[in-house]
């Protein structure tokens, strides 16, 4: 392990303590994203260990780098502070893992991001033609996707006109708040 850096949640004075022998945590919950650079083999045990550290320490994010592989495990900030104590037992926090990508969609100026957590649809309904395809020219205000959360459907509209150069999600895949969906140039 060359480098471990961790960001404390809110004002928690937690120290980054990534114990190599930490117990594996529960599987990442549905809706979590696991992205890896195709050139690297993701060690799922490592991810589980980092997720366990995250849960133990109350941190929201841990970044870990070894031999060119960088893994970031984060839990969704909005779920950390807002869980209402009640009859439902607290779920294992979803973990997200990202490796560096050659094209950083998150910071690309043409990226359209998801306005909410949910499931993204490229088609208005099953069997229909997709809203957009790579290479399409779209106009401002055109519907690009539908995001469904709790059966509430939210159309994602093009913030500006341009050409669709990359679609970053698959039909029916879970999306997180702020997740890059498409690049329009």
């Amino acid at each position: 392990m060359k480098k471990t850096k961790a960001k404390p949640a809110a004002k928690a004075a937690a120290k980054p303590v990534a114990k190599p022998g930490a117990k594996p945590a529960a599987k990442p919950a549905a809706g979590s994203i696991v992205k890896v650079d195709s050139s690297s083999q993701l060690d799922s045990k490592l991810v589980r260990q980092l997720a366990a550290v995250l849960n133990e320490t109350g941190l929201t994010e841990i970044e870990y780098e070894m031999g060119g592989l960088r893994v970031r495990v984060a839990r969704h900030a909005h779920q950390v502070g807002s869980f209402v104590p009640g009859p439902a037992p607290v779920m294992a926090q979803a973990a997200a893992v990202e490796a560096p990508k050659p094209l950083d969609a998150a910071s690309h100026p043409g990226t359209v991001k998801s306005p909410m957590v949910g499931v993204g649809y490229l088609l208005p309904e099953p069997g229909a033609a997709p809203f957009i395809k790579v290479g399409d020219t779209v106009t401002e205000g055109q519907t690009l996707f539908l995001i469904e959360a709790m059966k509430t459907f939210n159309p994602v509209k093009a913030p500006r006109g341009g050409k669709v150069t990359k679609i970053l999600i698959e039909n029916g895949s879970p999306v997180e708040y702020g997740e890059p969906l498409v690049i329009i140039e």
Partner: protein, 243 residues
């Protein structure tokens, strides 16, 4: 606004908002029949005369990510509405919410809710809250869940009266949501929801998942315990009581 026939009350209200024709919160479209009634993700909502087909326009919350909470308060309001309708027998009807916002009467689907978000030309965000309640007819085939109608449970009422009671109930729960937050709605839904530990099966885009009901997450997501651990589900078709 009452219509003898619309393609879909939701589609018509979405069009009105998108055209920016002076819409305001509380605008209600009601149709006696729909020629293209819609359910979740393009499904057909069979709409013969005699049932309730209505869409209500609500201002989306400032934090748009909390807009899906409206579906839960609507389901609670529909349960309360049916509870308050006049009935011929004395036994109160057994009503439950089915995640996220269907309403079951004696275990069969009597109401479906379809919230859709839409933006008006002035940039304001709205939720078009579509509500269907079966008063006297049910789809013969193609239903995704066994259907029922109020008349089959000795509740004999008109769409007009049902809508009056429904608007009062939505107004009540909308106020509570806006003043007290989602925790109150979540608790009200859980009171009317399935038992913890009830068998649950959810159809997801990549296939079904089965397990037991473990409550709602803070944002309304369904928590399901399966052999593989706890899952958090934000979209899917839920069937309770299936093996």
């Amino acid at each position: 606004m009452a219509f003898d026939e619309l393609d879909s009350t939701n589609a018509a209200l979405v069009r009105m908002v998108e055209q920016g024709t002076g819409v305001e919160e509380g605008l209600l479209l009601w149709a006696k029949t729909q020629t293209a009634g819609r359910g979740r993700h393009g499904r057909t909502w069979v709409s013969p005369p005699g049932n309730v087909y209505a869409s209500i326009l609500l201002a989306a919350p400032e934090n748009k990510t909390t807009a899906p909470e409206i579906g839960f308060l609507a389901a609670v309001a529909v349960v309360d509405t049916i509870q308050d309708l006049p009935r011929h027998n004395t036994a109160p009807p057994v009503l439950n919410c089915k995640w996220p916002n269907d309403v079951l009467l004696e275990g069969q689907k009597v109401s479906g809710i379809l919230p859709e978000m839409v933006t008006s030309p002035d940039g304001r965000s709205w939720v078009v809250l579509g509500i269907g309640i079966n008063l006297e007819s049910i789809p013969v085939e193609g239903a995704s869940y066994p259907p029922t109608a109020l008349i089959l449970h000795h509740i004999d009422t008109s769409p007009e009266h049902t809508l009056t009671v429904l608007c009062r109930a939505i107004d009540f729960w909308l106020n509570r949501w806006r003043t007290e937050g989602f925790a109150v709605i979540r608790a009200a839904w859980l009171e009317r929801g399935p038992q913890y530990g009830a068998a649950v099966s959810v159809g997801l885009t990549d296939g079904p998942v089965t397990g037991t009901f473990a409550g709602l997450d803070a944002d309304g997501a369904l928590l399901l315990d399966s052999a593989a651990g706890r899952r958090r589900i934000v979209a899917g078709d839920v069937l309770f009581g299936t093996p």
